[in-house]
């Protein structure tokens, strides 16, 4: 049987830590090598160029809504950008770094040979692009892209926010390199532990989908439609339920709907066909069959049993607040 490590409830403890490179792509391994090489240099980075956002950027400058860290690995990373409040042309060499907070701009000229690693701190992913440019405009450029799942929040994002806060023209530039080094340590850690990060995001997605089902059970819901809503494949959705939850997707949906039906049966004198529709079943006979399979009695029997037990013991018959 196939084992989906990223979604298993308990990771094989220690195994992932001992073999961090096992399932790693060649691209990701090269990114990790570059990061290791930088962090081996004791005072890396010796300085950090921080981009600004006050001046209007020239056409086709890089301006995006997420933070970016750019690390020259060789050659000369020549950039036009807003630094210390002025538009300048700077050359960033290995040993230094460039950090662009959200909506801040820079524009690589690609006029000189350079090898540079860009790290993109997105909402859902950490992105990496290893760019090698021959330094001429005639297409002598290659880029190797890779990414890992990453949740917004946590120390990594607070460091990128802190770096943005230091961009006020008043803070000492000496505060920057230590933060950037810490940031790169966290990036390296995420690269070395992607299955754990991914597993967490799978659990969060599962929870989001569960909440979605709990609030949309009245509508016509299919596995395909929910999968599309959340941008995943129908098979992935099924896998998510098998591994994160205690029941299959359809079982969970049935559970949500029959639970709601029980609540309505207990508390409202509605007709069975009305309750059936309210719970997302257009076919009352089908609803009754499903209800009977799940609760081992018909909707009418269920209502009578609850009424009888509350007549015997009024306290137990009080309508529960949450419908359970």
């Amino acid at each position: 049987m196939a084992v989906h490590i990223e979604f298993t409830g308990t990771p094989p403890n220690g195994l992932l830590d001992r073999h961090p490179h096992k399932a790693m792509s060649a691209e990701r391994a090269r990114v990790l090598d570059a990061i290791h090489a930088m962090l081996r240099r004791p005072p890396w980075p010796k300085d950090v160029r921080l981009c600004g956002r006050r001046l209007a950027p020239p056409p086709l400058s890089h301006v995006v809504g997420f933070p970016r860290l750019e690390i020259p690995l060789g050659g000369d990373y020549e950039n036009e950008g807003e630094f210390e409040g002025n538009a300048k042309l700077v050359s960033i060499k290995p040993g230094s770094a460039l950090f662009a907070p959200p909506h801040c701009w820079n524009r690589p000229t690609w006029r000189r040979p350079v090898r540079v690693l860009s790290v993109l701190f997105g909402h859902k992913h950490l992105g990496f692009s290893l760019v090698t440019s021959a330094g001429n405009a005639s297409g002598g450029m290659t880029a190797e892209k890779s990414s890992i799942a990453q949740q917004l929040g946590g120390a990594m994002f607070r460091i990128t926010e802190a770096l943005g806060d230091l961009n006020d023209g008043l803070s000492p530039p000496e505060a920057l390199p230590g933060l950037v080094r810490s940031l790169l340590y966290l990036v390296r850690w995420s690269l070395e532990h992607p299955p754990l990060v991914k597993r967490r995001s799978a659990v969060q997605r599962f929870e989001l989908i569960s909440v979605y089902l709990q609030s949309h059970y009245q509508q016509e819901i299919t596995r395909d439609r929910v999968a599309e809503q959340f941008g995943i494949s129908p098979n992935h959705l099924s896998r998510l339920f098998r591994s994160s939850g205690h029941m299959k997707f359809n079982e969970y949906l049935t559970h949500v709907r029959t639970d709601r039906a029980k609540f309505l049966l207990r508390n409202y004198p509605m007709r069975i066909d009305e309750i059936s529709r309210q719970c997302g079943y257009n076919d009352t006979a089908y609803f009754c069959r499903v209800f009977r399979r799940v609760t081992k009695c018909t909707p009418g029997d269920y209502r009578r049993q609850v009424a009888e037990s509350s007549a015997r013991d009024p306290a137990r018959g009080m309508p529960p607040v949450n419908g359970h």
Partner: protein
């Protein structure tokens, strides 16, 4: 009008995301319904499903490199532009979607019979 789009630039650092944002912004302004997939350094994000592509009238392929999963667009009319074009003139690109009614040569024209096509 419903449009799908993909953006992809060589480095995947910024222009991919800027083009996506510009297309989305221009679509809102012009009253188009749009979903934009980005193929940048963060991987395939906001990925277009087969259903979404089938439902759209046209696909904008704003790319300066080979697209991933390009075969998804074999059966839909496409408008191909460079990433800088999509950043600098997103409204112009969308206007082309509305005007440019030339059919995709890869698709058999609905009003052309088999004899005419093979001729």
């Amino acid at each position: 009008m419903t449009v799908v789009a993909v953006t992809a630039c060589p480095t995947g650092i910024a222009h991919t995301y800027m083009a996506a944002e510009q297309l989305a912004k221009a679509a809102r302004k012009l009253g188009f319904h749009i979903k934009v997939e980005t193929q940048g350094a963060m991987g395939l994000e906001n990925e277009l499903t087969a259903q979404e592509i089938a439902r759209a009238s046209v696909a904008i392929l704003a790319s300066d490199i080979t697209l991933e999963k390009a075969e998804r667009f074999d059966r839909i009319r496409t408008v191909r532009v460079s990433v800088p074009d999509a950043i600098k003139d997103p409204e112009g690109v969308l206007a082309r979607c509305a005007l440019d009614t030339a059919p995709n040569p890869a698709l058999p024209h609905p009003h052309t019979s088999d004899e005419q096509r093979s001729a």
